[in-house]
């Protein structure tokens, strides 16, 4: 039952954190920190292969199946780590309703952990919803000036795609029932479902759209810029660092394995969307003048590589996509932390009002430079391994689309360096006399993320060998 305990710990911890505000305004963040620390320590004791399988609603074939394989472990570990980063990054940013804030944060994390481990489609859907609602509150209550609009947009996109997911799940279960006479939501059973090709195609499309809205891929990406920009720093960290990965995870875990033939039939359009996302996302990133919005759009570009890699569906590309998911989690979380720190100090995100900040805050400048360099795909850091493997794998499948996506390598440099130039380099803005540099609290998580990215870049085998059995088990072409 260890996986269930992990999720319950986060849910229960969230409630404790919420109530603890009655004792002291600072109590919730300490409680949340403690809960994450305990959850992290507990995760370390859970071996790969752990599974929980219990009856839940037997009448409808719904069970409580939670399972931890290598891919889930990598994603859950990333989730808890970025949860920690989120709490640290919002340490001084949140000014009111501390309890409710930490409650929402921990409940989102609980939902995400559930999404990454549930192997019953109904349960999966429940967790899918659990992670969204608290995230809506995080944006709507503690967001910036346009938070109501952004939160509503986020909610509508995810709810409509969630509805599509629910329909697709129910239809899949129904068609499987029609074929076998058994109602089951169990992933393992549905994997072998015998469904007609055209039906399978439409079901695949339902899952696909639901997940690429989350990813997000062009043309469903427009919620992202508003949501990421308006969310408080912790919200952006979790959104970009983890929530986007649930879409990618869904593609790897569900879309292709459940409908292998249909997915391969849809390979070219899917890879095309990936390549378009890489280039168009990067181009939109360059167009922005808002620091945070630029970082937000860069996620569209980076997750485009994941889409491209998943549908190339060979070991190189899918493993590359996994590395990209983790590496992007770190690099983008760090950049959102920088964005949040700047907003807190300057009360603006407009790069036109920044400039030359390196002189005022050299540590912050060096940190920003490091993560920009990482996100443009510099070899030696994790993102490069992800992008290179994806492109190398995709090249075996479709040359023109790979060439198109490779243009993203250039675009990334264009927007990444322009971000640095407009904010940290250039003539110091005379309007800004001094800003506080990163302190020990921020630097400690930044250094951890730097080490993680260097490790991923120099010895990615640590992650690759964890995810290898999963990837080959899902039927990825060698």
């Amino acid at each position: 039952m260890s996986l269930l305990w992990l999720i319950l710990l986060l849910l229960f911890g969230g409630m404790v954190a919420g109530f603890s505000e009655r004792f002291h305004a600072n109590a919730p963040r300490w409680v949340a920190l403690g809960v994450i620390a305990i959850a992290g320590a507990y995760l370390a004791t859970i071996p790969i292969g752990t599974e929980v399988n219990a009856q839940w609603i037997p009448r409808f074939g719904i069970s409580l199946i939670l399972s931890m394989d290598g891919l889930s472990l990598a994603m859950v570990a990333l989730t808890l780590f970025l949860g920690l980063v989120a709490i640290v990054s919002s340490w001084t940013e949140i000014e009111d309703q501390h309890g409710f804030f930490q409650f929402n944060l921990l409940w989102t994390l609980a939902g995400v952990v559930g999404v990454f481990t549930a192997l019953d489609l109904f349960l999966f859907f429940v967790f899918w919803e659990v992670m969204l609602v608290p995230m809506y509150f995080l944006i709507a209550v503690w967001g910036h000036e346009d938070r109501a609009y952004a939160a509503m947009k986020f909610f509508l996109f995810t709810q409509i795609s969630g509805l599509l997911l629910l329909f697709a799940i129910l239809a899949l279960v129904y068609f499987n029932y029609a074929a076998t006479g058994v109602i089951t939501f169990s992933y393992a059973d549905l994997l072998n479902a015998d469904i007609e090709a055209d039906v399978a195609f439409w079901l695949m499309l339902g899952f696909f759209v639901a997940f690429v809205v989350k990813l997000p891929s062009v043309p469903f990406h427009t919620w992202l810029a508003d949501a990421h920009t308006q969310a408080p720093t912790a919200g952006s960290v979790i959104l970009a660092g983890i929530l986007l990965k649930t879409g990618a995870y869904g593609l790897i875990r569900f879309v292709v394995p459940l409908f292998p033939d249909a997915a391969m039939q849809f390979r070219w359009p899917a890879m095309l969307l990936g390549a378009v996302s890489v280039v168009y996302g990067g181009y939109l990133a360059y167009s922005q003048s808002d620091f945070k919005r630029l970082v937000a759009y860069s996620s569209v570009s980076h997750m485009g590589f994941v889409l491209l890699g998943v549908f190339a569906w060979n070991a190189l590309a899918v493993q590359g996509a996994v590395v990209q998911m983790v590496a992007h989690g770190f690099s983008t979380a760090a950049l959102f932390m920088v964005a949040g720190a700047l907003q807190q100090r300057l009360h603006t995100r407009e790069m036109g009002e920044m400039g030359g900040l390196w002189v005022r805050a050299p540590r912050m400048g060096a940190v920003a430079m490091f993560f920009v360099i990482a996100s443009v795909g510099m070899p030696g850091l994790g993102n490069f391994i992800g992008e290179f493997l994806v492109l190398l794998g995709a090249f075996q499948v479709d040359v023109p689309l790979t060439v198109a996506a490779a243009v993203g390598m250039v675009v990334a440099v264009v927007y990444g360096l322009s971000l640095m130039q407009r904010s940290f380099q250039g003539e110091p803005n005379p309007g800004i006399e001094s800003i506080a540099d990163f302190g020990a609290r921020e630097m400690s998580v930044m250094v951890l993320m730097m080490i993680a990215l260097v490790w991923l870049g120099v010895y990615p085998q640590t992650l690759l060998s964890i995810s290898e059995p999963v990837v080959s088990g899902l039927g990825v072409a060698p």
């Binding site: 810029a225 380099q425 003539e427």
Partner: protein, 614 residues
């Protein structure tokens, strides 16, 4: 040899120490770490050289760890030392150390001393990985790493946004080349199933016949990477702007080492080019074009560093041409001698610039030769070698290239002829630079307070620039397809003409800029002359074209589409929904009569439909 891994590791450690201490160390300690780490590498490399020679020139491999292991793709981080990488390592650590030593003095007054040496050490590490890696992925790590350091160092004085612009331009333009190169790697892997350099070269010879299309495509894609990094046509435009970086950076990165990485790449992958005569011809043509374009551009620059930048471009053009016409060893030989004399030229220019309080315009210098003797003589020696005057190092390397190009198929005479014109221009602009800078009337009072850390590297490099060509390049014999530098077999007028052209250029240069017996003023002041001067000075208008064809449209589109046209779909959908809502609201009046009338109307309509009247 077992210590080979220390060669790249020392500068990496230097970088890590300087990076993590974030400028908290005192300057002299920073200098010791920064220059010392590279010096230590140079010593280890020297020891490796002795062992290499004693071992009869057998290649040495050292596998450090398996970098990635996915689906049969298993690149290792493996170092490979053969004659070619030995020469490169020698140049990088040797010349690199002298430049670091010089920089300890040159940068003494500047802010960010520690940051500077951190970047420099990182650069040396990346450059060493580039030449030592036995896998194209490791090479690519170095390749991108040097590009990053180049960016960081060009924009080192980051509070001036023109430096930032130059730095970004360098990174973006070279990244275009890098993308071609990455595609070349993907294709190579798809065809041969490996990125190991030795294995893929052997595999290529087995798998492909001469003239194979796929081999040509790979070779051309790699050439795309090479032209970006080595500032060759059409990706050469970043190099002149890169002079915004501190002068030691220009000497190390933009003269001696990084910009020659493309030459190294092609020499390293020479089997692919031997299999594809078309691709090899493309290398030669790129080299010749660049050589020609850059020589004219150098003639019209007024900024001493930009003269040297265009000169570097043209000398690398010589190397590319050499590779293309099959003078493989001569290309690497010229790479080495060029590293000596061009580093010397940049560093002596740096000393002049520093003494004149950062004045870089040669027409605001003049008459400095008595006041700055060491930079003066250094520059004379460097220029002599650049112009390939007999007995200097540059003569030995350039002479072979010119003579070999003459033998190249039917077009040989063309290659030779155009390259000789460029050689003439080289000595002409060298003479111009020397005479205008050091003779004539003094325009600015110099203040030379450089210490031994600055003049010692100049003296040592001057010795190398003079004598560095006498030894030839024995280690290349086993590596390059032409079997190393052979004794030349040409005779007669061709040899004399090739050797005397530079002297002729020098004489003309003296007559124009030294004794001023020939006046070119009338030529320059004439309308076509002025137009041509401006055209050459702008680097043949490449920037102008790229700006209009690529940069401007991209930026305009970015400005127009800032709010993302795709979002319009959703905005319109939302607006329609809201509109429908307003229409629906209109029906909700709260008046009973209105509701009753509507209900009645509805019933009638339904009845009519049911009774099939409608």
């Amino acid at each position: 040899m077992e210590w080979l891994w220390l060669v790249p590791t020392m500068p990496l450690v230097g970088f890590l120490v300087l990076f993590t201490t974030q400028g908290r160390l005192p300057n002299n300690l920073v200098a010791m770490i920064g220059a010392g780490s590279v010096g230590f590498s140079a010593l280890v490399a020297l020891a490796a050289t002795f062992e290499f020679v004693q071992g009869g020139g057998k290649p040495f491999e050292q596998t450090l760890w398996t970098w990635i292991d996915v689906g049969g793709f298993t690149p290792s981080v493996r170092l490979y030392l053969d004659g070619l990488s030995l020469v490169m390592v020698g140049v990088i650590t040797g010349v690199g150390f002298l430049i670091h030593l010089y920089a300890t003095g040159y940068m003494a007054e500047e802010q960010g001393y520690s940051r500077f040496f951190a970047y420099m050490n990182l650069f040396v590490f990346a450059m060493l990985m580039l030449v030592l890696g036995d896998n194209l992925l490791v090479l690519f790590l170095g390749w991108e790493g040097v590009g990053l350091c180049s960016y960081l160092l060009i924009g080192f004085f980051h509070t001036d946004s023109t430096n930032g612009y130059a730095a970004r331009k360098a990174f973006v333009v070279t990244r275009v080349g890098d993308t071609f190169m990455a595609l070349g790697l993907f294709l190579l892997y798809r065809e041969l199933g490996t990125l190991e350099i030795q294995a893929s070269l052997a595999g290529a010879q087995e798998a492909w016949p001469e003239g194979s299309t796929v081999c040509t495509v790979i070779a051309l894609l790699l050439l795309g990477g090479a032209v970006g990094k080595s500032a060759q046509v059409p990706l050469q435009t970043w190099l002149p702007d890169a002079m915004a970086g501190p002068t030691p950076v220009s000497a190390l990165i933009h003269a001696a080492t990084m910009v020659t990485a493309g030459v190294y790449l092609i020499a390293r992958m020479h089997d692919l080019y031997l299999l594809s005569p078309e691709a090899q011809l493309a290398v030669a043509v790129v080299g010749l074009l660049t050589l020609f374009i850059a020589s004219f551009a150098a003639l019209t620059q007024t900024d001493i560093k930009r003269i040297l930048a265009y000169s570097t471009m043209s000398q690398i053009g010589f190397m590319f041409m050499a590779l293309g016409v099959g003078a493989w060893s001569a290309a690497i030989f010229h790479l080495m001698t060029h590293a000596f004399f061009k580093a010397l030229l940049f560093l002596s220019a740096g000393s002049v610039i520093l003494a004149l309080n950062h004045e870089q315009d040669i027409f605001k210098m003049g008459g400095l030769w008595r006041r700055l003797p060491i930079p003066f003589w250094s520059m004379v020696i460097g220029s002599a070698a650049l112009a390939a005057l007999p007995l200097t190092s540059g003569f030995y390397s350039k002479d072979i290239i010119l003579l070999t190009s003459f033998d190249y198929g039917t077009g040989g005479a063309w290659f030779w002829g155009l390259a000789v014109v460029a050689a003439f221009l080289t000595s002409l602009y060298s003479a111009r630079m020397i005479f205008v800078t050091f003779f004539g009337e003094m325009q600015t009072e110099p203040h030379d307070n450089s210490g031994p850390s600055m003049w010692l590297p100049l003296v040592l490099l001057a010795i190398l620039a003079l004598g560095g060509g006498w030894f030839g390049l024995a280690p290349l014999v086993d590596v390059m397809p032409d079997g190393g530098l052979e004794g030349d077999t040409h005779t007669g007028a061709l040899v004399w003409l090739t050797a005397l052209i530079p002297i002729f250029g020098l004489v003309v240069g003296y007559l124009i800029y030294g004794s001023k017996q020939i006046s070119v003023d009338a030529l320059i002041d004439s309308k076509p002359g002025e137009g041509l001067r401006r055209f050459w000075a702008s680097g043949w208008g490449f920037d102008w074209i790229y700006d209009r064809v690529i940069v401007k449209p991209f930026m305009t589109l970015a400005r127009i589409n800032k709010s993302d046209v795709v979002d319009r779909i959703y905005v319109v959908t939302a607006a329609l929904a809201r509109g429908a809502h307003h229409v629906a609201v209109l029906t909700q009046t709260g008046r009973l009569r209105w509701y009753a009338a509507n209900m009645a109307l509805g019933i009638v309509l339904v009845l009519l439909v049911v009774l099939e009247v409608l």
